[in-house]
């Protein structure tokens, strides 16, 4: 019996660009003491994602290099904040498990990182949180993030999703400022920070969990922006993550209604 050959995605795969960008962000985080990540946390996050991805792939008899697992782990280490080591491992495992176990028509339903983060943030509030302030949010950093983010979304063919999300976010902010009188600058403050752009350009642009057609992508991005704005108005602290989590469950319905072919992976 011959051993399966592990196949490496081709260079045209958009995940390579995303991986390269995320690696650069993670290097920035490593070089910034205030980011507060310890080597053991990096090891736990990356190790849990890679090992569980390999294990699930093996169980499903799929021979792929776990590029997605690596991407999830790098994003996880940027988003999740905990002084402990084990939440990174748990979050990584849950993220990858959701990718392999919660599937419709051959595609996973949730963005793995989104699922992992939401689960541990809700289950373990005394141990985990999200801390967008770790980035420092200086202008050169933001410009870099936005530029690379546009590139990553474009390579993933999900630029419309990101654009729609951004447009609705700002429209919602304007509406909230008009109706409730809060200063526009305050409502839009997150948009001047790094975490916001990571979400807008890297998380909601996941090709596997977002609609493929441009109009549907526009609608999806807009819907995430709308729900995000509503959750922000009620001061829910993980508003964008929860908005994406909830709306991801609608994508398989839409795919079936529109008669899209199931994926094979």
């Amino acid at each position: 019996m011959s051993r399966p050959r592990w196949s490496l995605p081709g260079l045209g795969d958009p995940r390579w660009a995303i991986l390269a960008f995320l690696v650069s962000y993670d290097l920035y985080a490593i070089a910034t003491p205030e980011f507060g990540r310890r080597p053991a946390q990096w090891a736990a996050g990356i190790g849990a994602c890679l090992l569980s991805d390999l294990a699930f792939l093996r169980l499903r008899k799929v021979s792929l290099v776990p590029l997605s697992g690596l991407i999830s782990s790098l994003g996880l280490l940027l988003l999740l904040d905990s002084p402990f080591v084990w939440p990174y491992a748990l979050c990584g495992f849950l993220a990858i498990a959701s990718k392999h176990l919660i599937r419709v028509d051959g595609r996973h339903v949730f963005n793995p990182l989104n699922f992992g983060c939401m689960t541990v943030l809700l289950l373990l509030p005394g141990w985990t949180t999200m801390d967008a302030g770790r980035w420092g949010n200086t202008s050169p950093l933001l410009i870099t993030l936005v530029a690379l983010g546009f590139l990553a979304a474009w390579r993933a063919k999900r630029l419309l999703v990101a654009t729609a999300y951004l447009a609705v976010f700002f429209a919602g902010a304007w509406l909230r400022s008009q109706v409730w009188g809060a200063p526009m600058g305050t409502i839009c403050a997150p948009a001047t920070g790094a975490a916001f752009h990571l979400f807008a350009f890297y998380m909601i642009t996941d090709p596997a969990t977002t609609p493929d057609r441009p109009t549907a992508g526009l609608a999806f991005g807009g819907a995430v922006g709308l729900l995000d704005a509503a959750l922000r108005q009620v001061e829910y602290r993980y508003a964008p993550l929860l908005a994406l989590f909830l709306l991801c469950t609608a994508v398989p319905f839409w795919r079936r209604r529109s008669g899209q072919a199931p994926a094979h992976l």
Binding site: T32, P33, E34, F35, G36, R38, D81, S82, P83, S98, L101, I102, R103, V104, D105, V109, F110, F115, M118, T119, L121, L122, L123, P125, G126, W127, T128, T129, D131, A132, G133, R134, W135, G136, N137, T138, S139, L142, A182, P183, G185, T186, A189, P190, T192, G193, A195, F196, R232, E235, Y236, R237, F245, T249
Partner: protein, 584 residues
Amino acid sequence: MARPVWLGVAVAAGVLLAAAGENAWRSWRQPEDYIEAAGRVPGGLPFHLEERAAAAGLSFTHEGLRTTSALHPWDRRLFAYGASVAVADVDGDGWMDVYVTNSALGSRNHLFINRHDGTFRDESDRYGIGDVNRVQGSWRALFLDLDNDGKEDLVLTGVSGRPRVFMQRRGRFVEQPEEAFEAGDSSAINALDLDGDGFLDLVIGYTRPFDFDPEHPARFDIFNRSMQTSHMRPGRLRAYRNDWHGRFSPMPGLFPPNPVGVPLAVGVSDLDGDGRPYIHWAMDLSPRDRLFHLVAPGVLEPETGKMPRRHRLNSMSSEIADVDGDGQPLLYVTQIHDPGWQIGHNFLLKRLKDGRFVDVAERRGGAACGWSWGAKFIDLDLDGRLDLVVANGMISGRSDFRYRQGVLMQASAQRQVDIRNWPPFGDSSLSGYQRDCVFYNAGGRFVEVGREAGLTSLRDGRGVAAIDIGNDGTPAFLVANQGQPLELYVSKSARARRWIGFVLKPKRGPRDPFGARVVLALDDGRRLSTEVQPCNGYCAQSDPRPKFGLGGARPLWAEVRWPSGRRQRLDAPREGRYNAVEER
């Protein structure tokens, strides 16, 4: 295929809903999730706490600084500091008096003189240190004998403005104009003889690199550029030489000019027992605190890399005591633990042989106590083991500001720095209504027993100061609350409790015994030790008299190591009283 898949989706959604429900249930059933789980003491808690501030005549409510300027909408957030308490024998009668600071312009500080019957009388006007907030609000008070005349003088830092010196002359404090001090917010102040000239010098930490006038702000970039990174303005660490008679001059070059972080407290202690003190700066908004060793008169050596890196960047207190009775003091540094928002933990730092410090709070207790501020090691049941009291709570108000602050922390540094970009704070709440903690020392492990002990206050605590009001050894402590009444807690017990205390009178060097160490040998083999450093902690000065609970043991002998380095042994010191010891 589809059915099991949707089953999976339903399970996932169910898990999340259950998680959210569980959170809501826990918040309702266990609202004190910001404190580590309460523990049980075998045999029951041997003491309970009684709040007696009003009964003791210590009626005082702190007023925070309020402006009429453009800063007004953020007053309660910007000036959420200024409550402090100092315990000292101001009138020299051998009984401890209490001084509390006020921060609003035009408000009054209060000096409560001990009446020797368990109560106090407000004599601020007689001593001339009541009406001192006309130009600038007070933050931290420090009593010490600056001119070695045997009378306590006063240094008062401000919420903006310059620290001030009040010399005690013939029973009245007289402000002595002092231009040497830099101006700026300051809560971190401590005293030690830095240059070995026999007079107490000062170390002062300023929270901003500049001073500003809250009533007439010329600039609005007054907050840190980012609340979670070092992309912010550094604070200032300064040393001032006491040139006799309470005159000061700067001692440049002792500390780095632009350290990362904001010094909120400074602790002094001989951490390695070599007779030379260390200076520990609690650096808020920095991944590490700063530690310096006074290796020779006027020479400070930075202990780079010895303090552990922390996950959150907060650091508010520097409380130090020999908890384990091994002559190796533990250092307690407070941080913020607010589940779902800020996951930090207080540090209980133990010094290793190579000089590095490791945190043992997760293992030994004391790690989580909300938005912690001042802390004090006090033997609350006089069993010979130090317990720990921690004050907490940032700002109690109406609507929760945590989300809005969280939004701001996601913003660009340029946006964060200008206070006008902040949502108005108004009467909001930020990690408020938190119960202070009592960590009972159950043989090396700290068990949280605050509620059981009767410490149920939800006020915004800042400084914690230990005091013996009646000179009878009864443990008690004061909590200075921001914008709220002062509290006095007295430890009561039905059991007989035994203790021994010392009043130290140095003859060489400073007249205050700051830096003296007392070792007490007990007949059960234990060696208890304490160092006179009443200004450690945060925004509090404690009773300077070394005191030990004896439990069931008897004292055999005591040894005093004076600040001059001389050692003096006392055979058969008497328990149940303060033993006067004069340096020979």
